[in-house]
């Protein structure tokens, strides 16, 4: 009996603590895959989002000097924890908007069962699944990362233009890899290309030689890899090079990783190209890079610029909506629609003044211009990168 009482007391104290938390000025939820499969990627992403919030507070705060506060939630990269955490953020913390979750499956579940019914706007920095485009979301779901469809398709067209007509495709079996590979395959075949091998692989195996041998049997000399260059993708590329299965290699943005150059050596990578997002002739990315380095972050980490943009956009939308959660989605679309005076990362004060003066603003993000379409998606601008010296250099833009 004593134990039961102790347990009940523990639960009560937990709820009591919770009630203390509700005293901040303006709250946004920051929902990330802190524990779980992307645990290594999540902390830098959260840090960059917090940088945006810190800049807002340093430059006079939000909604007439109030403090913007981020409440961090853990989605663990699965729908169960994602929905649980989002429900807490929306109902208990009463956030005005939600930045995250990070994984596509969580985004779908959270949007469907929490944020859309509750009328809260959600912006994800890294949910790349094409399914997010088709959500019945009343315009309340946005993302700062292009759908996998965009990159896969433009890479397919560019390769065909370069004269590569026959390729084999190896992709990591998760939403990132299979989304890209699918879009690539559809576009490549529709435009007259031939895919001689197409196979998924699981991560973390010691050898992929049998997969590679199977893929090379189709007779293509180009291998397209949709994977992460600091993970399985590196192993695949190394084993393909070592055994001479293929001569040319093409990667998606995950493969544009310094780990590849460090591990394999630039001299071995003369036939390797990778597509990756490029910022369009603005200095937004540099502004962000400097600011993020100043707080001790590594701006090359994956999705950090997208995460920063998501947080900054949420703040802009809240300011424009006057703090009314119901108007945030409309405001979000308006602050980055390609029309109005340009606002760059970190220019919070300027943005507030423009909004106060009733002028249109257009946020030019660190990860691209981020002009939302009707589905809340952003088009990506991608370039093909090759290895030059000890770094990646832009070879040409993708079309």
């Amino acid at each position: 009996m004593l134990k039961k009482i102790a347990l009940a007391a523990g639960l009560f104290s937990a709820t009591a603590l919770a009630s203390n938390a509700v005293q901040a000025d303006v709250k946004v939820g920051l929902l990330g895959g802190i524990s779980g499969p992307i645990a290594a990627m999540a902390p830098p992403m959260l840090d960059s989002a917090k940088l945006a919030i810190q800049q807002v507070n340093e430059q006079g705060g939000i909604l007439g000097g109030q403090k913007l506060e981020a409440v961090v939630g853990d989605s663990a990269c699965n729908p169960q924890n994602g929905v649980d955490s989002a429900t807490k953020l929306v109902n208990i913390e009463q956030v005005a908007g939600l930045i995250g979750p990070h994984c596509s499956g969580s985004v779908l579940a959270v949007a469907n069962s929490v944020t859309v019914p509750a009328g809260i706007t959600l912006i994800t920095p890294s949910g790349t699944s094409p399914e997010i485009t088709g959500l019945e979301d009343k315009g309340q779901v946005f993302r700062t990362v292009p759908s996998d469809d965009f990159q896969g398709r433009s890479l397919a067209r560019t390769l065909l233009n370069l004269g590569t007509k026959k390729v084999a495709v190896a992709y990591l079996n998760n939403d990132y890899g299979s989304g890209l590979a699918n879009a690539f395959k559809v576009e490549f075949e529709a435009n007259g290309g031939e895919i001689s091998g197409y196979s998924a692989h699981e991560e973390g195996k010691a050898s992929y030689r049998s997969n590679l041998a199977e893929l090379s049997r189709g007779g293509a000399d180009t291998l397209v890899i949709f994977d992460y260059g600091d993970g399985t993708g590196l192993t695949i590329l190394r084993q393909a090079l070592e055994n001479g299965f293929f001569t040319n290699f093409v990667g998606g943005d995950g493969m544009k990783s310094d780990a590849i150059i460090r591990e394999l050596g630039a001299e071995n990578l003369t036939t390797f190209i990778a597509s990756s997002p490029v910022g369009e002739k603005s200095n937004s990315l540099e502004l962000f890079n400097e600011a993020y380095k100043a707080v001790g972050g590594n701006p090359d980490a994956i999705f950090v610029s997208n995460s920063y943009d998501a947080a900054f956009l949420m703040a802009l939308a809240l300011e424009k909506a006057g703090g009314d959660a119901a108007k945030v989605s409309e405001a979000m679309a308006a602050v980055s629609d390609g029309q109005g005076e340009a606002v760059l990362p970190g220019e919070w004060k300027k943005a507030v003044e423009l909004i106060a003066a009733g002028k249109d603003i257009d946020y030019k993000g660190a990860s691209g211009d981020l002009n939302f379409d009707n589905a809340g998606d952003v088009p990506g601008s991608y370039g093909l990168f090759k290895v030059e010296g000890d770094a990646f250099a832009l070879q040409q833009a993708l079309n």
Binding site: K3, K4, L7, G10, L11, A14, T15, L17, A18, S19, N20, A21, V22, I34, S35, G36, P43, L46, K50, A70, V72, G73, D74, A76, C77, N78, P79, Q80, V83, D84, T87, K88, V90, N91, I92, Q94, C103, S104, G105, L108, A109, N112, S113, P117, A118, G119, S129, P130, E131, G134, L135, E136, N173, N174, D175, Y176, S178, G179, A200, E202
Partner: protein, 326 residues
């Protein structure tokens, strides 16, 4: 804190507790009453979730289906599919005893997860199944949550009643007999293999129903949901903590563990942000620690299984007479 928000959160927690209750009750049939160490709950959860999703979802280019059957058909389909998958698995694996069965079922769950991820033509692969209809989904936030809660509650009640009935029937006593002393049961002429298979399928069907309720609640199901941590081991902890072999214990265990799991995030949020992120991992640790403590100090769980034949009607009448005599 607004009251309506608190209510929303409470309703949500109750829905999740209901869904997890089905998984825990399913496991209780297998482990609690029949002694089958099933460590592949996530697999049956997935089969149920996907079957119901595919039966009821609108047509899509990325996965099988487009049948748009009523949700009830989907839920029955989920139970049938999970039971049907359990049959061959049980046929092969149930000859193993305890630990070996656990290893085999972990493997089976992993196979199911990989099939779901890889066979894109059927399941949509990593994109999953979306636009699954949710009963009462068109109502406003609170009302649709409340309506779904009522539905989940009713289903849990029916399942609980069905299991209680089955367990206090001769079948249940026989299962406990087989669990406690297999040789004696064999000597009494019981067909142990067939009986175990029945329990395995019965439990799997209930787990499948839990999966279906989960998929419809979120209107989507993706392979990320088939995480053994959250869909297998968490349920084991719930059952062990609540008291295996006791359905009320299973329900209590689910409620206690889920509330701790969910509410512990509020506690970690009180810390300064730089620690708050690290403290999220603490939640996983707390659940593990809880299991250790329970196993050390109260291995039979909060509500242990009634000893002897205390559950049977004759004994109850006997006890009543006895207490009346006193």
């Amino acid at each position: 804190m607004e009251l309506i928000g608190l209510l929303n959160y409470a309703v949500f927690m109750a829905i999740f507790i209901g869904i997890y209750s089905l998984l825990a009750l399913g496991l209780n049939i297998q482990w609690g009453f029949s002694g089958l160490f099933n460590a592949g709950i996530a697999g049956f959860f997935a089969v149920g979730a996907y079957s119901s999703a595919l039966l009821t979802a609108p047509e899509s280019a990325v996965h099988l289906g487009g049948y748009q059957l009523p949700v009830v058909v989907g839920w029955i389909g989920a139970m049938v599919a999970a039971g049907a998958i359990a049959w061959p698995i049980g046929k092969v694996c149930l000859r193993f005893r305890s630990d070996y069965l656990a290893i085999a079922t972990i493997g089976v769950a992993e196979i199911i997860r990989l099939v779901v991820k890889s066979e894109g033509w059927m399941t949509g692969g990593a994109r999953g199944v979306n636009k699954i209809p949710r009963p009462f989904g068109d109502l406003s936030y609170l009302y649709s949550q409340l309506a779904y809660l009522a539905l989940v509650f009713a289903i849990v009640l029916v399942v609980y009643w069905a299991i209680e009935r089955q367990i206090s029937a001769p079948w249940g006593r026989m299962m406990r007999g087989i669990r406690d002393n297999e040789d004696a049961a064999t000597a009494m002429g019981k067909d142990i293999k067939a009986r175990r298979l029945e329990a395995f399928i019965f439990g799997a069907a209930v787990m499948g129903l839990g999966g279906a309720l989960f998929a419809h609640f979120n209107r989507s199901i993706t392979p990320e949901a088939i995480d053994p941590m959250i869909a297998t081991f968490l349920i084991w902890i719930m059952l062990i903590l609540g008291g295996s072999g006791n359905n009320r214990g299973a329900l209590l265990g689910v409620a206690v563990v889920w509330i701790i799991w969910s509410a512990s995030e509020f506690v970690t949020d009180q810390l300064p942000t730089e620690y708050a992120i690290k403290a999220k991992y603490m939640r996983v640790f707390i659940i593990g620690l809880l299991l250790q403590l329970v196993l050390r100090f109260r291995p039979e769980g909060i509500l242990p299984e009634p000893q002897g034949t205390a559950g049977s009607p004759e004994v109850k009448t006997f006890q009543k007479q006895e207490s009346a005599a006193k």
